[in-house]
Subunit: 310 residues, 4 copies
């Protein structure tokens, strides 16, 4: 599958196949602003390293990227501080849910990886680096706007506030990290930045475009701008493969065979190394918090394109 006509055909075929499934799963109800989203939506976008884009369905409808933002925050921070990050967060699958606190106690406040909530808070703490929360939020939004080549990407303030008001589980994790000395900035500031970058709204087309550097060894293939090093790009992909879907990462690797990151807003980002970035969105979630139809669409897309890395 090399040509763009084929890609458009495959994307259209996957879209058609998903029709009967759209609406399945349940919407994340612990964030009120997300609970109101209509489940019966599905969007798909593929951006290739050659500069082609194929979309289907609601690919222009913005959604809350939630945990997918962890990938961009991690890229920013790895570029700033490099391997020093790994003193404060691990690189192993947790074998647990996204918000589990159990391992954090037995492992003395060092989160298993930067893609579970606790790990992303440590990343966010590095991003803050003593600044005011607004400065850190601005930096990550600017970064994503540059990556997406689209200045309209922004935070949904209603979602950010909604999380801040009900995010007791995340507040528990952040205080726990701070108790172990693994947050340098005030708990409130870390949570504020964390909730804001999780509340970034993007559509599938923007998201696939923004992540394209991860398919091209760290360099934006369209603009030719280096975003991060090849080795960092590879490591982020490796983390998405082993840890991108919490305690359902193995199933995703088995079914889809691509590095990916899901968000409870129903979006999933997947990277096809050397070829493309893919974004899917459909709000209904499975029990692991991954979009049901999104995962199915990626499985079919990988099967039809032969893009599995395995």
């Amino acid at each position: 599958m090399n040509q763009k006509e084929n890609l458009a055909d495959i994307v259209a075929a996957v879209h058609a196949e998903m029709e009967p499934h759209v609406g399945a799963g349940s919407v994340a109800d612990y964030i009120p602003a997300l609970a109101r989203v209509d489940r019966r939506q599905f969007g798909l976008a593929v951006a290739t390293c050659e500069g082609d884009t194929a979309t289907a369905g609601a690919a222009e409808v913005a959604f809350s990227i939630q945990s997918i933002s962890k990938v961009f925050a991690l890229t920013l921070v790895l570029d700033k501080i490099g391997a020093a990050l790994w003193h404060r967060v691990g690189r192993e699958p947790s074998g647990s849910r996204f918000n589990s606190i159990v391992q954090l106690e037995s492992e003395k406040g060092v989160p298993r990886n930067p893609l579970i909530n606790a790990g992303a808070m440590v990343v966010t703490d590095h991003l803050l680096a003593g600044r005011r929360p607004a400065a850190a939020v601005a930096e990550i939004i600017d970064f994503i706007r540059r990556l997406a080549d689209d200045a309209t990407v922004s935070v949904d303030p209603e979602v950010a506030n909604s999380e801040a008001q009900t995010g007791y589980r995340n507040a528990s994790l952040a205080n726990f990290l701070r108790a172990y000395g693994n947050l340098d900035n005030p708990v409130e500031d870390v949570l504020k930045v964390y909730f804001h970058h999780c509340a970034i709204a993007m559509n599938c087309r923007q998201l696939a475009r923004a992540a394209l550097f991860l398919a091209n060894r760290g360099t934006d293939p369209i603009k030719g701008v280096k975003i991060t090093t090849p080795i960092t790009s590879r490591r982020i992909n490796a983390l998405m493969m082993t840890c991108g879907h919490y305690d359902a990462s193995g199933e995703f690797a088995s079914r889809v065979g691509l590095p990916g990151k899901s968000g409870v807003g129903g979006g999933i980002l997947a990277i096809v190394p050397r070829r493309a970035a893919i974004a899917v969105w459909s709000p209904g979630l499975n029990r692991a918090g991954t979009s049901m139809v999104g995962a199915l669409a990626l499985e079919r897309l990988a099967a039809l394109t032969g893009w599995s890395v395995f």
Copy 2:
């Protein structure tokens, strides 16, 4: 890196780079017969889908493949019973050591994946399927001989007996599985077959050759014989990527970027989808039970060849 001259050069270069490191790490001391192996050995073999082989160091010295045998047992059983296996064993990283029993209690006797000890025992139970242990051992040895295209592959009886006499931890796991009804055959029989397939001795050249079907969508590229389906081959690779090194799987994915499986005998098998299978061996282990020099050699080999899937 496409040509065989280059491959031979790279293999030789990696061998040379490893020289100062050989001997590092500690030998698995809980299996007496393994504890006596000289640490100062290193072997490397690459078998490509085109039929080329490049080797360096002690690539012809047989070693105990230990947990690497789980990959072959899994292939055999998936071919026999297919997806029915996943009712009795999961596909997720455990986040725990290879012999941990903790999750097995909270998850009611269903092991996280078939590459940790408990999961491999469930696979072994399927392999037994009511037969005498000798029949099941014979089947898996025959299977590996065919894959390696070498009738000399065999079980090291001293290692098998050594494990049987001191394998209290594995006996604990097997009894636990049986208590939850997740073993159909007698505990003694399952352990006997398990200890025997772990005690298979192979050299790097044989091991790389035997696993080549996993680099070629389930078909042996040299003989053109279908060993398993493309989808099963991909799933085994996915499992090796996410679960192949127990609680150090994330680090291996990050550093090497290839599906792999380590054994406490010091061997590591790695698959380069669509290209090659690699076997390395050096007995000194890191704290996760993976060959220290072996992992380093694979990291360098992946860097020099650009073979990382990420």
Copy 3:
């Protein structure tokens, strides 16, 4: 409540109160020989330090004492080796079920206390002390016969065999202990002795009589024979109070207020320091494996006598 007329009246009253409840709960079904016992039975016996005995119901019907035997094994071993036992087993409540293996992994093979299964196996290992299983079984039976002043107490061979054939969970625990070097004798021998002392059959009258030394600072108040030291007697009572009912020990302390030990055969032993020993039996169990009617009877008996230590 000091006089024996009163005691007989109270025992009769408790018996009458239990009538409508007898038969409630479920019988331990993992030991086939126990699963066949008729649930609709209830026995009660109180033996006082003054030499009085009051009984009601099926106080002369023998039942399998199961885990209650751990108290006698512990007494024997503490008398042999004293505080050295505490290097290999703790004295803390486990907060877990009787057969949990989770803590055993995180605490490196040292059971939390001698009244959970794993801890009782370590006690049994000390009892064996290199002898043949039959010798150790004979010693504990002789000990209990002397305590009960009744040479007819014996092991129910059907129950012992039944446990040996289906005791996979216990075999898992024993192998786990051995893997950590916390069993000196062969696993098979430890399990054999363990299953045999758990299969001792006694009736309520015998059991209350046998444990009377624990109500009298270690000395049999009837024969005037010292069984153990006052301090060991106090410590055994303390263990029964904090750990005697696994993860329902707190509830028992709260409701009954006496040191006690339950067995899945439906028996419960309770000690009234300085006054009496009580044995109740009714086969129906609650979810923690304690006799439902037995616990209720003890609660009422403690309320009517004012015997709670609190």
Copy 4:
């Protein structure tokens, strides 16, 4: 030991025996205001149901009672809402440290018992009951003043603020409880009241006096005022016996044999049912957070008086 001359002699003897030990252990360093307390202090007070008091050492020096306050908060709340409390908190030993969050996740936000931090927060939430924090703090201080018959008992504001500023672990627990719907009041309010009642300062004489109702079936034996019911009094004693010292409760029961509650300020309260209440204080702690010299003094006092309930 019945007469007051003997009691004074024994208290003096215990004080003398402690001399060489005073200063052992380490001071709680996570609360700065506690870390500055001089370790070389020891106080002891016994208040009997007959109205006698015997003291030794620094029995008039006020110290931070910390977790001992949980006993008074629990008494107040059980009197207000009775058994309804047990829907939101258990009565079992946790087998874990005082601030562990692990069980809270697996048991869905229901703390094991009201004497670990999380459980005491649920009790505190009931105490708040929609009021302002100052009202709840005032109520518990008034309650303790009445019990101690001493209007000078008060909160040490420096300690309360110190905990509020560094209590990240407790903030983590409170947010976790709230995430599971097991706190009705705002997290900040619950923590404020919790930190304030833990920061109550009392001396040994006041503390023994205040807890005397627990030795007398719920009624203050000096004033003849009923504080709580006999059954509630017994249950609080049972909880102190099984859960009063976190993961060292079994050892305390074994060595001392009395219901007790320790605080990281170095105080320990112990109840002798039907006889007396005892308070000891010495700031140096063992690894479980219990006063080393305090526990030793109680062990000796129990041995010399024969007051162990076992």
